[in-house]
Symmetry: T
């Protein structure tokens, strides 16, 4: 059964606890569960991880080669600065869909740039927690094609 890694970066463990006006009321556990359920429905195994450490995210991407068929990556704040994540994606070769819960283009200028986007397969932005399910579905379609 093909498998997908849902990888969340810094401060996403705070989801649902703070700033619900911006990020919604769902916790990261809620989202993880929704991801696994969506995957089950589409015949995909889904593994969910989170870290506040850039290096651990790099490690996770590096070790995904051979283990996962796709990565849904919400790199949070590291999206905008991390060349290391970009290089890890290039070095690993597993396709990545970049995801943001809120619409980063409606926020501060420094959130408009993504170091990851040019090496991502695609992006889903601003569609809330639903975006995770859509990204998993996109991988399902991709793997079926």
């Amino acid at each position: 059964m093909p498998s997908i890694l849902v990888l969340n970066g810094p401060n996403l463990n705070m989801l649902g606890k703070r700033e619900p006006g911006l990020y919604g009321a769902k916790t990261l556990s809620d989202i993880d569960e929704m991801c696994r359920a969506t995957g089950a429905q589409l015949g995909l195994e889904v593994d969910c991880r989170q870290s506040n450490h850039e290096g651990e995210l790099v490690d996770a991407i590096q070790t995904s080669a051979g283990a996962f068929d796709g990565i849904v990556l919400n790199a949070g704040a590291y999206t905008h600065t991390s060349i290391a994540l970009r290089d890890a994606i290039l070095a690993t070769g597993v396709p990545v869909i970049e995801l943001h819960i809120s619409n980063v283009y409606a926020r501060e200028d420094f959130r408009h740039e993504s170091k990851i986007a040019p090496v991502a397969a695609g992006l889903i932005v601003g569609l809330g927690p639903d975006g995770y399910a859509l990204a998993i579905r996109a991988f399902a379609q991709r793997l079926n094609a």
Copy 2:
């Protein structure tokens, strides 16, 4: 039955005819049909239009108020320069999902900026023709919630 407008901008009528390496082999008719089928499956009426004229796209957005519950907008080249489309979206109030077939962030710098993104509900980028179906599904989830 709620209804969705799929609105395509300049040169998207050329899909499938030129540069298939970049945009895929599907024609705009293929995509329109897929959109309507996806809508039907999700209980949404889907109307599809295309124009090379910025003013006609503005007209189409203005007249969508009251007529549509959401717009999937691939504004093509006008994405990057059209403040008129942005203002039309603001003036009309119908939620818009911005869509690009190819990953614009892996292309020329001038394609990285979107005048529309800050006023869009969300974005789906680089996921190919599948992106249209995902956008319609996103509206379905939104309308159900």
Copy 3:
């Protein structure tokens, strides 16, 4: 009797219908009527047009030569990007007063630049619908001098 063209650009046909907090409650018809009334009072014929199409605005300016003694131009979103409107003004030679209902300098950065301003006779900005009447009056004074 001298005559003035009041030319409104994209989305100004939405006036009074949407975002009244920003643009006020008057519709474009209300403004057109006020313009004609002000003109009548000052001995000027006033003709009012609106289009969402950049090309139609260019056409309107080109054909104003010989037909009008002045243009009150609220080019809306095209103000900030349209070199074609600028060139049309230069090619036609009819004096233009650039007008904005809201104070564009209190809004997004991209609204601070005008491609038209350097070739305009003058500007009236942020004075609401009253600005149209003041612009017509300015032409009256100019034509009397």
Copy 4:
């Protein structure tokens, strides 16, 4: 009777004496008289002052609170650099119409930026000495509304 302050900044005391090709032949006295006459006609008391000193202009704005219902401010060269004037306007709360006799957008780049415009009620630019009368009239309409 409501009253308006017409406040002119550096070098406007030289009007009519130098560079008449750019600023016209009227002296500042001529303009002051015209302003008072326009005010009288519209039921407004008009007080006119000029200073070459940024600090004196700040003083004048600060002391206008309670004394004036509006300020027509041609801050001349300080328009482009004075955050102190901007802060004085914000601190005082009297509405300000920013005015320039010549079309600053047809001149050097550094004259295109105004530190005052974002906190002004509106702007009248490039309409010559007539602009002062239009600004007073704009206040009259505003006070009547």
Copy 5:
């Protein structure tokens, strides 16, 4: 017989009528006639069109595929901003020579950038109406080679 499209953009219908010091005394009809005559002399059919509407220029380029062997494109003001024209050229595949009557590099800064130039076969700039004839000749040499 091979055929060439001479496509002129906004305000070029004003040629010879206004600003002759900048653009010369020839009207667009004069130039069209000269183009057809030059084509006839070189064994090329030449078709001439003009529009002030960006969308119509996009339409014209799209429909040139199969119908023309080359396009001489003076996109006027749209040269500097139109990504839609650029994309149309890429989508259509007909070779384009970009043309400007005046030397755009001796004019305002915003005329120095061309969105079209990177996808053009070549450029002829500042050589007056003669430039059209030279462009047609360049296509003749290209088609013979």
Copy 6:
């Protein structure tokens, strides 16, 4: 007894009267009194001055040499533009602590730059009127060391 000059720039005489949401309800007199009281407690004489005139602030700094052991300088709007104040500080050699009542980094971009900061001994920003007392205490510690 060592002495400290508390020097306030343009519009700080408006404190407590306007925009209390941003700057608090204390007047400048309240702050001056608090400064003198804090100084008395720490064995420092404190002198307080305010001016809206850049030149007067320059004069005050120049004449502080020999008269004061430190300056707490809230230069207000001149902070961001005044090279003259910077040069006066360098020429005079009395150590300066730059102070802002509100957090300038949470406000407009032009308030983020300080021409004075590079020649200041240190900065206290955004801590409200308390900041003045902290600055005086910092000088007390410095003079004791």
Copy 7:
């Protein structure tokens, strides 16, 4: 008893050992002890931590919610680049005073920008190790008010 977290970032564990001309002769232990002593004097419990790892600093801020009433944060080099720290502060909601021992505005340009400052309560910059004590005192005043 209210409590304060003093959180130091990368390379601050080297204080007193290297570059004493720039950062002074006190070690981080000296500063920690001074912080605890100042806290004790003002009725505040003070906890001191240091890490060279951005992720650990993010963890520390996240877990401070409920545990601390304020954070004195010297994020060292991460000040200038870490959006993750900024987001952690926003997500956690504990007030932060940003601190720098040296005057960063008198050093390299890249040290002038702080990603943290716009979300900080205030800043104390360039006042040496004394700055830590002043920051703790600022929290004491704040908690008393």
Copy 8:
């Protein structure tokens, strides 16, 4: 008989030997011969020179006054940086057509700017070696007019 100088700058002596994919297979001798033949056909004497030295190109332009009726200048790499060539053209007054064999706008950014273009009569870019013949023809037309 009028005469034209064809002046080639650095590395153009390498034509045909290296990078034929970019610059074509013709050597500089081939081009020189073609230029002289085109000139002969049009009643123009054509003289061809090449140098890798900026100073020698300046010398050549200076001494062209009185000796030549026009210069076809391919300044190669010096196009983008040489103010000295620009000044020589201004000081000499002989009309210059700037020429590039390849389309410089489809290459690196630094090749998009020309220090010479603003003082050139016109430009021919990207039309290969044929461009030289077209430039000579342009001078022929110009001299006949």
Copy 9:
């Protein structure tokens, strides 16, 4: 006898007292005396003034019309920011030589720009107090020619 105004701006009254390594040991009195002596030697009356106030410098330039044949202007810090001084020079029409004692181009970047230079007759920079004498001599040569 023709007369020259030597006008010094902010902080130049501190000359010789502070930073002698940068500005030399001569006081402003020494320089004034040297200027008058040089003038006497060349048949020119020389008047010397200094102010720290931008407005007073504007006043001094405005009143120099008819009174002086030339101005040697060391505007100090205002050189880099004062559009008011620039406008005063333009409005007054008396020729100005801009002077700096130290080489501003070897100092901070913000000292490299002069708002005055484009409207000055010429500049003398970095030649120390001798520069004043050279400037007076330049006016003498100019008045003799």
Copy 10:
């Protein structure tokens, strides 16, 4: 015996496994072995480490003081953003040679800037794995001198 630390940053543990066209076929183990062999030949002990974590690289540099005579640092992606590494080098004082296997100047713009280079002893760039041996040799020459 003097000793050298060879410190590799993020993704360099992937060498030889991915993108061999860009980085070559050698693994990091191969390079480490080559480094130790080169050191042995030159009388230097060589220790090799790698981490994907910025904080661990900072730790490694801090603890190199007294333990190593030089560091060969390939900081990978952190080269371009890490002020923390720069500060660690400054704080530690051990000389560093910055190394890149590929020619970063022939790649994306963001790889052209190095935060480390200004505090490095020197750089070796683009010479492949051989660069490590050359760097060790450079330290050998330096230690012998």
Copy 11:
């Protein structure tokens, strides 16, 4: 007897022949003679050279060490781009006065920057041919001091 080198760069051999409106009617020979005469009057030997070649100017500066006590350098167009001239001045150590006949700050933007100014002793700009005599006089004063 001390000696001065007057070194002129590209296109200055054209002085008096072209663009007299900008540079005056004097030829370079006239200026050379005036320089020698001024030198003779002040007890200085003056040697004058000109070259259009950057390399020859570098050679001339390098060989001036020991041979000349000062250089008056009008580097013409190379002023704005030549780091080689800057390095030659630094390597040679002979003091240089940079000179421009016209006011470069009243001309194109690219003439406002000088690569030489930061390493020059001083500058004389815009004072016409008289500037050369003033520069020689400045060296005379310097050598006497």
Copy 12:
């Protein structure tokens, strides 16, 4: 026997004579001799040249094709501006190692950019005269591989 060209640019003939603090005490002859000795040791013939003239450096690179197997190029000041050298390297095809004796990244900003680096095989920077020997050794390894 393979051969290497060591090519030095402007002002490198001054090595050892001036600014030894920056560039060391070795003369260019010393370095040339060291290069030849290193080459002899590694079985490479080494030829050394220097010129202050950009054109001569271009000539030298052009004529190296077929004559040399590699070039060690210290282009000095031309490194930062010379597109002609870049083009010569591309046109010639001989591999180039770019070399700088001092660490250019620790110096002025304009020395951080290299026009040559993107087309070089690699770079050695800041390792002093030793760098030349390392570069020759790098070619030796390359030729053996």
